[in-house]
Amino acid sequence: MSNGGDCRYVIHQNAYIKLVLHALNHKTSAVNGVLLGRLSGEVVEITESVPLFHSSQIGLLPPLEIALITIEEYYSSQGLSIVGYFHANERFDDLELGSVARNIADHIHRYFPQSAVLLLDNRKLGALRNKKDAAPIMQLYTRDSSKSWKQVESTGTSRLTTKEPSANIVLLDFISSNKWSDIVDFDDHLDDISKDWLNSGLFK
């Protein structure tokens, strides 16, 4: 398989929740993150995620390069590779995968040809409390043979699911307890290296 044409993507609860909490921690700017995992047959398992940046300079290369080198180094020792990219737009009603996101996604695609791009769907996040939905509140994009990122429509069997069906319920729980204020991202680490971008204590 040379592209994400037929892959399914399963994201583990902790990886999923971390990304959404990161977005909630920085409501007034765009945020992004890296997805880590492995390929098992036709399924890409996203087992971990690392929140990257929240500053308005999200499109700059130096912090991104440092982050990717460091993250790849750390997770390869655990047998995991970079398998995708997460992005949340600055504005509530912006559901487009912008050029900065696409460029970073292209960068990440070089690590893993079946990589996925997940874009936070703010409307679904807002509706989560009222509508009990097990589907992840993100849009899935994959790169086709035309080398552009296309959104995968969620008709019939969804190609993006959470591993644990109750992930959204756990997410809502964390949101109501303001758990998002505990999230540390790579930007925080670069500003203060005592901050742990691995968020190792987050779910304990």
Partner: protein, 298 residues
């Protein structure tokens, strides 16, 4: 821009207030002074003060400033009723006030009534063409509507008049970055460095943009600005230290090692990083080591 002492004071006050330890007015005043966006906390604690008649009268004339601060925070959190109530109180106290007029227009903005807000701002500007805050609202509205090119247009017009507004130059640079217009962003940072040559953040941002544009000359210049950042921050800026290493590595890659590049500075930067990590973040020292090794091998 907030200094480190101001930031720790803010965090301390924030923790205190959030955990019921009082100090709400000091916290709100600090947020106002530093012009920070902490709308959810301002709304929560500001309302507690305003809804307590004893605390409210203890504020004296500052009561009205608090109403304004809470109104804006309420609009930011989409609590339009609270915003409207605060604005009504201010309208009663200060009828025909331009400052309150501005809040009314911001309420229209928050409701999404863009055309009406635009009309309100235009009429406010007729009487006072040099009102910076209102001129800025135009930029903010364009940005909120997703009209990024319009925002750039308004911001450039604004800067023709108020060219000493450094925050505006930074905002413009960041908008250019979001559109990947790196050369234009670089120009903004150049203006900022000329205006405020001792602010390290400008040097750092400029270096980051030059590195992102790429090319040998830009990488060499970026390295110089990372170096000046290191100098201005006494070697304490992690991003600049990493930046020097990245530049050295990228330049070596571009020239295939065939130049007399000064590798001394990146050795010093790497050593400084290792020292800092050993002291502050020891569990990540070996990770840093492998990352630096990757860069040298590249």
């Amino acid at each position: 821009m907030v200094s480190k002492t101001e930031e720790s004071l803010l965090r301390q006050l924030e923790n205190q207030v959030e955990n019921g330890g009082g100090g709400a007015w000091e916290y709100l005043s600090l947020v106002r002074k530093l012009k920070l966006r902490r709308s959810d906390k301002v709304l929560k604690h500001g309302l507690i003060l305003l809804n307590d008649p004893k605390k409210r009268s203890a504020l004296g004339p500052d009561e009205w400033t608090l109403y304004e601060q809470v109104a804006i925070a309420a609009l930011d959190c989409q609590c339009l009723d609270v915003g409207k109530d605060c604005i009504k109180v201010l309208q009663k106290k200060f009828p025909d006030s331009k400052r309150v007029g501005r809040l009314e227009a911001m309420l229209l903005e928050a409701k999404g009534s863009w055309a009406e807000a635009e009309k309100a701002y235009t009429s406010l500007l007729e009487d006072n063409a040099l009102d910076q805050v209102i001129s800025m609202r135009r930029v903010a509205m364009a940005k909120a509507r997703g009209d990024i090119l319009g925002a750039i247009d308004w911001l450039n017009k604004y800067l023709e008049i108020f060219m000493a507004d450094h925050d505006a130059w930074r905002e413009l640079a960041e908008i250019y970055l979001s559109l990947q217009m790196y050369k234009q962003a670089a120009f903004c940072y150049e203006e900022l460095i000329l205006a405020q040559p001792t602010i390290p953040l400008h040097h750092l941002a400029y270096a980051d943009v030059l590195y992102t544009i790429g090319g040998l000359e830009n990488l060499q210049t970026a390295k110089k600005y990372y170096a000046s950042t290191i100098e201005l921050t006494g070697g304490k800026n992690t991003r600049a230290l990493y930046g020097v290493c990245l530049c050295t590595s990228a330049i070596a890659q571009l020239t295939k090692g065939k130049n007399n590049e000064d590798k001394e500075i990146s050795k010093l930067a790497a050593a400084a990083l290792e020292k800092d990590y050993k002291q502050i973040s020891p569990d990540k020292v070996s990770l840093l080591g492998s990352a630096l090794k990757t860069m040298k091998l590249q």
